[in-house]
């Protein structure tokens, strides 16, 4: 299998003249901006991986004079902390990404939904925002950004739950369709993008798509900021070119005794040692919003699984039955098997339940509980039972 190896990149945190990029974007037409983002192959960096250019194109095509660009900074996936670092270090680049998206789609208003856990960042972010508003006004942009805060609900990272929250309601996901590009925040056409996606789009405008596509693979263009934690001597935030295998990743970041890597957080997949060499980190293999957790042989994968399912049982919004009841039953189920109150074959029933949740749950939360559940149960069955 062809892969790119592990290469460190500096795109997101690179110092650029934001004013210059804004001027460049201001002189481009809406179509030109969208075309460049489309050509770059950029996919959403929050985890779901929807092509960013398409999202902007669909929103731009809507006739409604009121449109919104929303920056999703409700970074709640266990093991993800890169968006905090991006906002902390290069907030003006995030604002610029929003203004460029606004220009591309004909939106004059942007909201940043920041998780409550990051409230301590606000004073500095406001200072930067004030400077940014002044700067773009001088160039001639009619664009304004406001912050909205979360209050400790993981589900509000789901786009429609996030809109509900901004609108002052419980963060319960909506039915789709309609999709946000036609009816999003305040029922207006909305493009909602992750913090890193917006910065990447801004850098694509700065460098041009041809430069950007040199990085990554056909299915996973560019680079990605990874949040690395767990059993590693070098926990932290690293920007890497996409297309490496888990083995190459472990060679660089493991502690020499890595038995599993959880790619994509609690809603992602567990890759066991025997599959490291054959698994590519990216959309052709295991996709990730950036969360990479390494576990060495001293860790019980039952504890890892229990921690994840407990997380979902608490964070499920409770609106739809498959997710609400499913999370609780998965949790009770693995506890029963562990205590010997249920036979080990009961795990097969639980896997079926996880499959049902994937099909029947309303949003991405319930649909992805089965990812971690199945990949841990299938690869570490003995640890879950005994």
């Amino acid at each position: 299998m062809k892969n790119k190896g592990l290469t460190k990149v500096d795109l997101i945190f690179e110092t650029v003249d934001v004013r210059k990029v804004m001027k460049k974007a201001f002189e481009m037409t809406s179509d030109e901006i969208i075309q460049q983002v489309l050509e770059s192959g950029l996919k959403g960096r929050g985890g779901a991986g929807f092509p960013t250019g398409l999202k902007w194109k669909y929103t731009a095509a809507e006739k409604d004079p009121d449109k919104y660009i929303v920056c999703n900074a409700d970074e709640g996936e266990p093991g993800t902390f890169k968006d905090r670092e991006i906002l902390d270090k290069v907030a003006p680049k995030v604002y610029a990404g929003m203004a460029i998206a606004g220009k591309a789609m004909g939106a004059r208003k942007g909201f940043i939904y920041l998780r409550g856990e990051y409230r301590f960042l606000l004073p500095q972010l406001f200072v930067e925002l004030h400077k940014f508003h002044k700067m773009i006004a001088e160039i001639g942009y009619d664009f304004n950004i406001e912050y909205r805060m979360g209050s400790g609900a993981y589900i509000c990272g789901e786009e429609s739950a996030l809109f509900e929250s901004i609108e002052g309601r419980r963060g319960e996901p909506r039915n789709k369709p309609p999709y946000p590009t036609t009816s999003g925040l305040f029922s207006k056409p909305t493009s909602i993008n992750n913090v890193e996606t917006l910065v990447t789009a801004m850098m694509i405008i700065e460098k041009g798509p041809l430069e950007y596509v040199k990085l990554g693979t056909k299915d996973s263009r560019g680079s990605k900021v990874f949040s690395i934690s767990g059993d590693t001597p070098v926990p932290g935030i690293f920007e890497l070119e996409l297309g490496m295998t888990v083995q190459q990743f472990v060679n660089e970041f493991g502690d020499g005794d890595t038995k599993a890597v959880q790619v994509g957080g609690a809603s992602g997949f567990c890759v066991p040692r025997k599959k490291f060499a054959d698994t590519i980190i990216g959309f052709e293999g295991v996709p990730t919003g950036g969360s990479m957790k390494l576990f060495n042989s001293s860790r019980s994968m039952y504890n890892v699984l229990h921690n994840y399912i407990d997380f979902f049982a608490e964070e499920s919004c409770g609106q739809c039955t498959p997710c609400r009841v499913g999370c609780q039953q998965l949790l009770k189920g693995i506890e029963k098997v562990k205590k010997g109150e249920a036979k080990s074959t009961y795990l097969n029933e639980l896997v079926k339940l996880a499959d049902t949740m994937k099909v029947a749950s309303k949003c991405g939360l319930g649909q992805s509980v089965g990812n971690a559940f199945k990949s841990i149960v299938e690869n570490f069955r003995e640890e879950v039972i005994y």
Binding site: E75, G76, E77, P78, G79, T80, F81, R84, R115, G116, E117, Y118, R119, F120, R148, M149, G150, S151, G152, A153, Y154, S165, I166, E167, G168, R169, R170, G171, E172, F186, S227, I228, S229, G230, D231, P235, G236, I237, A266, K293, R299, N303, V304, N307, Y308, F311, E314, E315, C317
Partner: protein, 153 residues
């Protein structure tokens, strides 16, 4: 219990009286008083002209919009996997021993409430806690004592 005086009215002036003003208003009340009383939720409902059930329904959805009494300083210890692997239980035991309360409880002088919370985004510097809005990371049982002492003054 606390008296709010003109707080709700002032916040409605600041954030507006539309439905989308609700979260910022509730968040500002919690910032000041750490939790929401029944009285304050009714006052918000009256000010925004919506049902009190809507206000309670919204508030009770969000972990950080507490509807139970909380101390002046709310300590939230991250319990998600990396913090859990890196000694979260020792941190909790130390705080419990120091403040003589268990997780979920508030000290009799209403100075501290101890809670567990889900991932707060500091996995690379685990174990981590939030005290009110401030994160403290790379904690050990020794350093967490100093951190909490800083809030006792």
């Amino acid at each position: 219990m606390y008296q709010t005086g003109n707080l709700v009215k002032d916040l409605a002036e600041k954030h507006g009286r539309r439905r989308e003003s609700l979260m910022p208003i509730l968040q500002d009340i919690v910032k000041k008083h750490n939790y929401l009383t029944d009285d304050v939720m009714v006052a918000v409902a009256t000010e925004l002209d919506i049902s009190a059930a809507e206000v309670y329904g919204t508030a009770s959805f969000y972990t950080f919009l507490d509807t139970e009494e909380r101390g002046k300083n709310v300590i939230r210890v991250c319990k998600t996997i990396t913090c859990s692997m890196k000694g979260k239980n020792d941190i909790i035991a130390t705080i419990e021993d120091m403040l003589k309360i268990r997780v979920g409880e508030t000290t009799p002088d209403k100075m501290f409430t101890l809670l567990e919370t889900n991932c707060i985004g500091w996995c690379h510097k685990a174990p981590a806690i939030l005290i009110n809005d401030m994160p403290y990371t790379d904690l050990t049982p020794e350093t967490v004592i100093d951190v909490i002492k800083g809030y006792m003054r």
